[in-house]
Amino acid sequence: MQYFLRRVLVNIPVLILVTIVIYLLINLAPGDPVDFFVNEEIGITKEDLDFVRERYGLDDPLPVRYVKWLGQVVQGDLGFRFKNGDDVAEVLAVRLRRTFLLMGTALAIGIAVGVTLGIFIGLRQYSFWDFTFTGLSFVGISMPAFIAGIFGLYVFSVKLGWFPSGGMRTIGKPDSLFDLLYHLALPAGTLAIFNLATFMRYTRFSMLEVRGEDYVRTAKAKGLKPPAVTWRHVFRNALLPIVTVVGLSLPTLVAGALFTETIYSWPGMGALLVDAVAARDYPMVMGIMLVTALVVLTANLITDLAYAVADPRIRYE
């Protein structure tokens, strides 16, 4: 408990440090928010741009802008988008919900199926099933997400007509849970394949690793039945890397998946970040980064705590 509190407290300066670094990086990146207001075909004077710049407070020196931003954030105000004046916090709330749904489903499927298959083939190394599942899952990950998405749409929507061609609901039809799941199936399925491959690999490797350990052999020698050995000893100890990988995957729940969201017209966080970066929309970018950083830090903390649960020998003083 004390460890937990200390970690939470340590995370506060880390978070501030992170925002400073990110703020610096964004401002260091080439491009200027006022570029969004420029249209070559119309012709805009430098005065116009200076005016826009002043209006958004971009004429202040960098440290001043950062302190202003931080001051607002502390008061719970994430500011407004340069691009269209939207409230950053509101945009985040909407987008987070969508991304969480998509990534959560994909991660859940990935963990459930991946770990199960990983155990299955981990117990049957070099068997037919081992090669089949390994091969299939690698087909999935050897393709860029974007191409996989186009492929998914092309096959299941255009050719077979089983699923809608992206979007989150059928326009003109009443909204329903079924409709949402219907639209969720393809993008979540595409993402799940990648998660599945990841979890299957780590599980399989860990299973193989611990099977050779002394205590497993001891357990077998004691006359425990194979399934009992598997569950009580092998899987238990293979859990550690899986916990780490789950922890590493948690941030994707809020970061989203750019290419999958883009091709399936699922307007989530991944697409939002790219949109915000493309417009050099600093308040939006900072808002996204703040949430992401928070989740990364929290996920890492949870992972560390989960180690102690998975393996009681690990203690935090």
């Binding site: 050897s142 860029p144 550690l240 690990i314």
Partner: protein, 260 residues
């Protein structure tokens, strides 16, 4: 299998029948034929040659980036997990910070300062991928350092460095190998994405990633599978090979497994 992939890439100049950059507009977008084993792309370049040469770039990027991140990850992870305390705190908080870095923004900035080259691609991918491996290794080491054989050798007076090298590292090989597989695969695919943001491999050098990326265009995806299927298969073979090598390697390193 891997030897074949590697050899094909290394020996590309001997096997390739055309210059990978040689245009031949009258013969563009042709399906496989005797003249072009794997057909030609939209500007008439030979896919067979481009696949072979593309392997050089992709394998270099994949392995170099994966090596950088793995080496950093294993060192930081084992130090952090084994010594605990201050070292752990500092390394892990640093890892936290790096994990929160916005990739797109860094890549955009790098586009200006680094420019287009294989080296900048490797560097960029390498610096993004190590925190995951660090955390993975650390998690394993945290558990290992409490295990009997480690405690035993410590009580026998073995030095920390010796314990890490002889006892701890062999036991983190499995998850590390799994992550290397994904790191190589990820680097090969990510490379193509970078070229949209001004850092990637300069034209007209082929890579499996940028060949595969042409399938973004629907007519290539649908009507020109010979353009993107070969690099996809090469990536698949590479990743599978690494995976099997990993399997073999851990069998060899881990003597206990051979009995079990």
């Amino acid at each position: 299998m891997f030897a074949v992939v590697l050899l094909a890439s290394v020996a590309a100049p001997l096997i390739a029948r055309y210059d990978y950059a040689a245009l031949n507009l009258p013969e563009k977008f042709q399906s496989p034929s005797f003249a072009h084993f794997l057909g030609t792309d939209r500007v008439g370049r030979d896919i067979w040659s481009r696949t072979l040469y593309g392997g050089r770039v992709s394998l270099a990027v994949g392995f170099a980036a994966a090596s950088i991140s793995t080496v950093i990850g294993v060192i930081l992870g084992s130090v952090s997990g084994y010594y605990r305390g201050k070292a752990d705190q500092v390394i892990m908080r640093f890892t936290d910070v790096v994990m929160t870095f916005p990739r797109v923004v860094i890549i955009l900035t790098a586009a200006i300062y680094l420019g287009q080259s294989i080296a900048s691609v490797i560097f960029l991918i390498g610096i993004f991928s190590w925190p995951g491996i660090t955390r993975l290794v650390r998690g394993q080491v945290l558990s290992l350092r409490e295990q009997q054989f480690v405690l035993a050798s410590r009580s026998l007076g073995a030095g920390n460095r010796r314990i890490i090298i002889t006892h701890v590292l062999p036991n983190v090989v499995a998850p590390v190998l799994a992550s290397v597989t994904f790191a190589v695969n990820g680097a090969i695919l990510l490379e193509a994405g970078l070229s949209f943001l001004g850092v990637g491999i300069p034209l007209p050098t082929p890579s499996w990633g940028n060949m595969l990326e042409t399938a973004r265009s629907l007519d290539v995806l649908q009507d020109g599978p010979w353009i993107w299927v070969p690099p996809a298969i090469m990536i698949l073979l590479t990743v599978l090979s690494i995976n099997f090598i990993g399997d073999g390697l851990r069998d060899a390193i881990d003597p206990r497994y051979q009995q079990g």
